[in-house]
């Protein structure tokens, strides 16, 4: 039974993905989980860390893991890129290779604190789909998402690499299950784990847009009126790089909506693509009293 968890927002949730931050914290609070932000966290470096050097790509996340040990034994990380990075680092150190032990020693020296391998990195989608949490969500439903046809999008970093995967790598199901429990209609499509282009969105508009457009077109073809993500980078890319108009929700926003959290309409205001088209369907159903 989780009651208090460490929380690592990462840079995106503090800036461009505030609604993911607010909705994650609010949903967890509503479900009785206390989130404690880890003190003085730093950027985990993600893919750019890797491109500089090996040491850096593990050292930046390791500082966060050490900081997290002061707070709780589970570390919740909503950004899929950060989640993957922290999880991989955790495993690397647990592996106890010679290189890993050397690195650990160096970072401990810089920080003046030991790393005790006490913290487990967890993604909120993993936490919210554990049986006891699903039970709580079901019990707390204020508004079923009936009428909402959505395509769950997992992207890459929730299922790759293998050590970070908490769901089936080719056919993940957890978001599908959660959305269905809340009454949404989940469409079948085969692009769930296809990559959206990630940081190419910033640097190479020409390469990223066709990837995004194909995903949106496929979701539409499958009958979806909205996409649902669990990663701020996917969300920003899908929203900002499509030439069509399809809303892109964070799964936590929909949980918030279903639990009747008052702020949920506030979060949706921050979106670049208006979410109204998808919500109208929902509202219609509600006013019919179903």
């Amino acid at each position: 039974m989780v009651e208090s968890v460490g929380y690592y927002p990462g840079c995106s949730l503090h800036t461009s993905a505030r609604e993911y931050d607010y909705s994650s914290r609010a949903v967890l609070k509503a479900l009785g989980v206390v989130t404690r932000e880890i003190p003085d966290w730093n950027c985990c470096g993600a893919s750019s860390g890797h491109s500089r050097d090996h040491t850096l790509s593990y050292a930046l996340p390791l500082r966060n893991l050490i900081q997290a040990e002061e707070v709780a034994s589970d570390l919740l990380v909503p950004c899929a890129a950060c989640y993957s990075t922290l999880r991989v680092t955790e495993e690397y150190l647990a592996g106890g290779s010679k290189d890993a032990r050397i690195l650990q020693g160096k970072v401990e020296k810089v920080m003046g604190k030991p790393y005790q391998q006490k913290v487990k990195t967890v993604h909120p989608l993993d936490l919210l789909t554990r049986p006891e949490m699903l039970q709580k969500i079901k019990a707390g439903l204020k508004r079923r998402l009936t009428g909402m046809k959505v395509a769950p999008y997992y992207g890459c970093l929730l299922v790759r690499p293998e050590v970070a995967a908490f769901d089936d790598q080719e056919q993940p199901q957890k978001m599908d299950v959660l959305l269905r429990e809340m009454g949404a209609e989940v469409v079948r499509w085969s692009y769930k784990t296809e990559c959206c282009g990630g940081s190419l969105g910033v640097t190479q508009g020409d390469a990223a847009s066709p990837l995004v457009d194909r995903l949106v077109a496929e979701a539409k073809k499958a009958g979806a009126m909205a996409l649902v993500t669990a990663c701020p980078l996917c969300q920003a890319n899908l929203e900002g790089r499509q030439s069509q108009i399809m809303p892109v929700f964070y799964f936590t926003e929909l949980v918030g909506l279903a639990l009747g959290i008052p702020d949920s309409s506030e979060w949706l205001r921050g979106h670049l693509v208006d979410t109204k088209s998808a919500l109208d369907q929902l509202e219609g159903v509600i006013s019919l009293g179903r």
Partner: protein, 178 residues
């Protein structure tokens, strides 16, 4: 075995010599249709020790580390890890100024190094300055700014001295204690 292959295998931790060119990686790679050589060809260049061709291949910078290749490869080869070694080599030698993708990584890391966190607007400006592309993306940028999605002030980590030291760690000689 060539020296270069040896070096690549050690640095990336990937069993490059085990690749039998089945091309499953390229089939799943999202960027292979945009880049010159495909994922399996990069592995082949590594096997053959053709260092210069690999260094100058745009695929190195297009790869987004999605690791679809590794998930599909019968030998579990993570091609992004191989390409990361090349990226590191290029960035360390200060090469390719003004090329969009290296500039992005440099701006990103510069921001982390300076502030401890990514200062988004600073990063975007730094990046645009490095590649001299001010106008492109202005519209999306302005839209995001209006929605409060780009922050103006750097978020600083009070332990940023520590973060800076982490950036220098690769120069420090390590020992195993305990």
């Amino acid at each position: 075995m060539t020296d270069f292959l040896d070096y690549l295998e050690t640095e990336s931790g990937q069993p490059i010599s085990r690749c039998f060119q089945c091309k499953k990686c390229s089939g799943g790679c999202p960027v292979s249709s945009y880049s010159d050589i495909k994922a399996h060809q990069a592995v082949r260049l590594g096997q053959l020790g053709r260092e210069e061709e690999l260094i100058s291949a745009p695929l190195v910078w297009y790869c987004i580390g999605c690791k679809t290749c590794q998930a599909r490869c019968p030998n579990g080869i993570d091609i992004s890890a191989i390409l990361d070694v090349i990226k590191g080599q290029v960035l360390a030698s200060g090469g390719m100024p003004g090329k969009p993708l290296p500039a992005f990584h440099e701006s990103f890391l510069a921001s982390v190094n300076r502030h401890g966190r990514v200062y988004e607007l600073g990063m975007v400006i730094g990046y645009k300055w490095r590649v001299k592309r001010w106008t492109e993306d202005k519209e999306l940028g302005l839209k995001m700014f209006a929605k409060g999605k780009l922050s103006l002030l750097p978020h600083r980590v009070s332990g940023r001295r520590q973060v800076r030291e982490l950036f220098e760690l690769h120069k420090v000689r390590g020992e195993i204690n305990g």
